[in-house]
């Protein structure tokens, strides 16, 4: 199988295989949004769909991790995100506090429970 880099070189591959397949969704959004009103029911629904997709992305990044994160046990990853979220709720809905606590639990858990 011939790879993208071998066929196209890194920069043409970046445009054709990275930029265009990614940008198409932003441009489709621009096209669809024409004439839509902020208060319209369709925009309310689309916003719920967008929020749910983002939630799906978040859950998949935690559950089916790749790269260095995959080396950390699933239980540690889930415990870290739960701890971070609780800290966020308890400390004046501060994203900074939630991220700091979540990261601390992840790193301490990974050091305490090597895979």
């Amino acid at each position: 199988m011939s790879t993208a880099v071998a066929q196209l070189g890194p920069y043409l591959a970046l445009i054709l295989v990275g930029f265009l397949p990614n940008e198409i969704w932003r441009l489709l959004g621009l096209l669809v949004a024409r004439g839509l009103d902020e208060e319209s029911e369709i925009v309310v629904w689309v916003r719920a769909v967008a929020t749910a997709i983002l939630a799906g992305v978040i859950a998949q990044l935690i559950v089916t991790s790749t790269g260095a994160l995959a080396a950390i046990p699933l239980a540690v990853r889930v415990a870290a995100v739960v701890a971070g979220f609780l800290a966020f709720l308890l400390i004046r809905r501060s994203v900074f506090a939630g991220v700091a606590i979540g990261e601390a639990v992840l790193i301490l858990g990974a050091l305490a429970l090597p895979p």
């Binding site: 591959a13 959004g29 689309v46 997709i53 939630a55 998949q60 559950v63 809905r93």
Partner: protein
């Protein structure tokens, strides 16, 4: 509702001021730091897979989507072009509903499509989440300039960190690298939770968190799109039902 058109043209200095305010907001946002950490990880990945630092910088400018960049970098050298393109594209479906929900908040009666091209390209989860929270309080004729400032203020640390990560690659311990990758889901979760003040937003978030991994496990394909449609529609239906009962 699109606000009534103001006859006075937007003064140049107030557009510049709105852009500057957007940039300041970006640098006070937790996302500026989270993106810096995330893109250190991605820059290191690009180094390990043999790309140049210029390529890494250009990929952030053009793609501006961390999951798509991770997929591109890690598969470009090993998969067929069509497989990589498809994987990148599937990871970016979210941009369409995000842009559709955003643009009606940015526009006023004088806005032309070309004015919306830069905001459309700058749309990423971080920029979108901050903007959906902050835009409603801003005068409508300042919103595009503010959004462009916010987007520029957040893409700048990402571009910089991509280059920094490229040069520190290999010197980062595995646990630390894992911590950098964990910044993205953690900060996304909390910023979206912070934005979710209404029942429909909270339900969409909670249902998406549960349905996302379930859809991935079924291997139906287009699992994120299905997650969005199923969870988003249930949240919307409950919201309509509750309105009807009141």
């Amino acid at each position: 509702m699109i606000s009534p058109r103001s006859d006075a043209p937007l003064a140049q200095d107030s557009a510049v001021a709105a852009f500057a305010r957007g940039m300041l907001t970006a640098w006070r946002s937790v996302f500026a730091y989270v993106l810096f950490g995330t893109y250190i990880g991605i820059g290191a990945l690009a180094h390990d897979f043999g790309f140049s630092v210029g390529w890494m910088v250009l990929s952030t400018v053009l793609i501006w989507a961390a999951p798509a960049q991770v997929i591109l970098i890690s598969t470009l050298g090993s998969a067929a072009p069509i497989d990589t393109a498809l994987a990148v594209s599937l990871s970016s479906v979210r941009f369409m509903p995000m842009v559709v929900a955003l643009l009606p908040m940015l526009r006023d009666a004088r806005t032309r499509t070309r004015h919306l091209l830069v905001p459309t390209h700058l749309t990423a989860i971080s920029v979108w989440a901050e903007a959906m929270r902050l835009l409603p309080a801003l005068p409508r004729d300042h919103r595009i300039a503010f959004y462009n400032g916010l987007g520029t203020g957040l893409i700048t640390p990402a571009i910089t960190a991509g280059a920094v990560g490229f040069y520190v690659a290999g010197q980062v311990p595995v646990v630390f690298a894992a911590g950098l990758l964990f910044l993205t889901p953690l900060s996304m979760l909390m910023s979206i939770a912070r934005n979710s003040r209404t029942l429909i937003d909270r339900m969409a978030l909670a249902l998406g968190l549960v349905i996302g991994p379930l859809m991935a496990a079924t291997k139906v394909g287009l699992d994120l799109m299905w997650t969005g449609i199923i969870a988003g529609t249930i949240a919307y239906a409950v919201h309509r039902l509750r309105e009807a009962l009141q």
